[in-house]
């Protein structure tokens, strides 16, 4: 079966996408989500809805290929060509992660001895931005999210959950992306940072960035949402 014919309009076309975890130690199959289909245009924000534990995050992770999808297709229009995220070569996925597809997870994975500002600069450095420029843009992001300059050189492993989340957001949103996967980006944020995030998502949308999100505070972004997809599994 082929995906929806109007592919040329879409940056992403997801067709009968499914994920089941096989846990060998207990010989069990655990479905995460089953037969999810949707499509997405540039500048569109799509929200994944569903009860707790139906695999909304798993859907985002399968699109990013942190999880290996079990079935279906996710046809993505990259700048250099069309690929199926479900089965694209690993090097192509790595390339897309560097240049086109961003993932905003709920939790920061701090690295020992890497400062907050360096973590935020890193995606820019990987994209070849000079260090001074990267440092300036990272500082701009951190201050907009309300993180005081005094703690930028500190190591985030000691920071509060909210502070870590701000660093994570800045890191995930600082480099230009064509598709953003937002996994509860506003879950642990204070109201000021939530407003800053909403403002930033609105700008990205107007710039044509396509987004798929799972939101804890859906009211923050309600007027930005264009469409939604219901996630369920067959369990």
């Amino acid at each position: 079966m082929r995906p929806c014919p109007h592919t040329h309009m879409h940056i992403l076309n997801v067709h009968e996408f499914s994920k089941t975890f096989t846990i060998h130690a207990i010989n069990r199959e655990v479905p995460a989500f089953t037969n999810v289909s949707f499509h997405l245009q540039p500048g569109e924000l799509l929200v994944a809805r569903g009860a707790n534990g139906v695999g909304k995050s798993s859907l985002l992770r399968c699109l990013y290929r942190t999880y290996l999808p079990s079935a279906g297709h996710a046809i993505y229009q990259a700048q250099q060509g069309t690929v199926d995220l479900a089965r694209a070569a690993e090097v192509d996925i790595a390339l897309l992660r560097r240049n086109e597809i961003g993932y905003v997870s709920q939790f920061l994975r701090p690295r020992p001895r890497v400062s907050a500002i360096e973590l935020v600069m890193e995606p820019l450095l990987l994209a070849g931005v000079p260090a001074d420029d990267a440092r300036m843009r990272a500082g701009d992001w951190l201050s907009r999210l309300g993180l005081k300059a005094a703690i930028w050189p500190a190591y985030p492993s000691t920071f509060s959950g909210g502070e870590q989340q701000k660093i994570n957001l800045a890191r995930a949103l600082i480099a230009p992306r064509r598709l953003l996967l937002l996994d509860e980006p506003n879950a642990a944020l204070d109201p000021g940072a939530r407003a800053a995030l909403r403002e930033r998502l609105s700008v990205l949308k107007s710039e044509g960035v396509a987004m798929i999100g799972v939101f804890h505070h859906i009211e923050d972004v309600r007027d930005l949402v264009d469409s939604e997809v219901k996630i369920a599994n067959s369990q």
């Binding site: 096989t22 060998h24 130690a25 090097v91 192509d92 690295r111 020992p112 990987l126």
Partner: protein, 277 residues
Amino acid sequence: MLRPYGIRYDMTPTYFDPPRLTADRPLLTAWGLRKTYGRVTAVSGVDLEVYPGETLGIVGESGSGKSTVLRMLNLEEPANAGDYRLNLAAYAGENLLGLDRYRRRELRVTQIGIVYQQPHMGLRMRVSSGGNVAERLIMAGERSFATLRTAARDSLAESEFPLDRLDDPPRLLSGGMQQRVQLAKAIAMRPALLLLDEPTTGLDVSIQALVLDTLLRLRRERRIATVVVSHDLGVIRTLADRVLVMRGGQVVEHGLADQVLDDPQHPYTQQLVHAKL
């Protein structure tokens, strides 16, 4: 191109598409690497590719064959069978496993750098640190003392080695500093391929983090293709883009590093990952 080990445990073939977006060709391509010691098979049918600027991790427990693979890639351990190529003009179309002694040495000096877990395997412990790095350049034919000194200093500085200790021999240095000297020696000739064998195993956690940071910076600044072998999944998660999981001399699973660690497919990988978390 279909990978022979691109097969899921349940035997449903999961053939990945060939690269469509990546314009690069792999720097390193190895097929069917095999190594036996008498009747013991250490490595059997291992295939791997590494792209320029990419880091490939190899994980597995002791005896899985991962270090043997690394030593075969360094041409210090002869393979019983296999095909190993580097996409470099001087070696185009050649199976490097068949190089004569002279060209093998030349390739190792100019294009391959290695960092061993045990510093004494890669360094002369009683020669100055600067001298250890310069030796690499001398082997490549450099004779001018001034050039040697400058190049050794530059390489040590890039490895974040404190230059006031340039004249100290490695035996007087801490474990972390010894690894920096090995790294400086490994990158002195600007090789195309960097091999890391448990580069931070045995170091204090905080020292380990500093060495890993240096490696990440080097990877970003130079586009060296890197293969890192470690039993430490934290090191692999930090450094590797892609991962091979080895057991009993064979690759049982491969994938993007976060995918292998967060959604392992093979029963052995699931056991390995869950034992660590």
